[in-house]
Symmetry: C3
Subunit: 155 residues, 3 copies
Amino acid sequence: MGRAARWRDALGACGTIGVMESRTTSFTTGGREVVLDLTADAARFLADVGAREGLLHVFVPHATAGLAILETGAGSDDDLLAALGDLLPADDRWRHRHGSRGHGRSHVLPALVPPYASIPVIDGAMAFGTWQSLCLVDLNVDNTVRDVRFSFLAG
Amino acid sequence: MGRAARWRDALGACGTIGVMESRTTSFTTGGREVVLDLTADAARFLADVGAREGLLHVFVPHATAGLAILETGAGSDDDLLAALGDLLPADDRWRHRHGSRGHGRSHVLPALVPPYASIPVIDGAMAFGTWQSLCLVDLNVDNTVRDVRFSFLAG
Amino acid sequence: MGRAARWRDALGACGTIGVMESRTTSFTTGGREVVLDLTADAARFLADVGAREGLLHVFVPHATAGLAILETGAGSDDDLLAALGDLLPADDRWRHRHGSRGHGRSHVLPALVPPYASIPVIDGAMAFGTWQSLCLVDLNVDNTVRDVRFSFLAG
């Protein structure tokens, strides 16, 4: 066993030092535009890997979805969908066209609402403000199940 | 003391290897829309923690503010506020409504201008181009003080 | 040699544990708006540094360019440029004005399409979905060569 491998094993034995923990979870988004709150799932991931201090990285391995940190449950989720309806209209302007009308807008979404997010983890919890939630943003009505990858880089 | 704890302590003794440094600083944004340049504060944080190589992570623990990397002082800060005035108008369209007129736009902002940013650190300095600055973007006229969390992950 | 330096050297000897690998590559974008696919270049960087598990961080050290994760080659690159033409028009509205008409829009772009991106690396490869590509987004027709910094933080 080489020096690097020995170090890797030794560090790996520490659980959260020097090893990125990562897993993918599937979510049902259904056949409609959604802002889906993932905060509880992210917290469960952090607990499962025994995270203490570091960075939570969230990634959506899809070309037609994004992640946003928002307040949910007070109208802003619908406000975001309405704003995206104005900024990226579901009409026939898009060159990338197949599936439902306006599908091409979902392919532009990730440039404005990125498919990644990163959040500091302090004492095992996301360092969120009171009203912040981690959300999946999905305008794609043709894709009803989405994967989300949670990764934790120990600091 | 277990193996993980011994490793953690040993690595912690190195200062910038294997330990995420993190602190929160308050900024006065006042009762108007602002693009506030945080570059000097970020550089001070990196110096204080003795950062050399790694990733600077910046996070705003508020649901109505974002971070952007922009040129400041040459009109683009005002251009950004004007563009956001067009894209997210301060009118009565928003379901989330309380406080000043159009407040709901501030809750949609973080989907388009995320509350996090990450910047490579090389030789202790942010690897910025000549005209780049780290900025807090705050349309919220009802909240006059904002926290910003700076974290450094040593590479 | 102090304790921190000894640790750093020991960890550095491992190649991908505890050391951020980082390098900058130049790309010719020419005198037109472009969405330039950088996926193959990012994969080459990961191979060159022997990346296994961790986070790929990509950064553009320019105040007038951004990064997006998109499907390319099926119309969405042009759809994004068209959408940005509507959202940030190339007209005379911008205070920051020099060079080509509408140049000021390129300085607002990085607030909406950030100059950074981060992607999990699993088994040496970006954990992309089938249709995702890493792209440089550049509306600036006056700047024909761009630098991109690839960094790898081993997990």
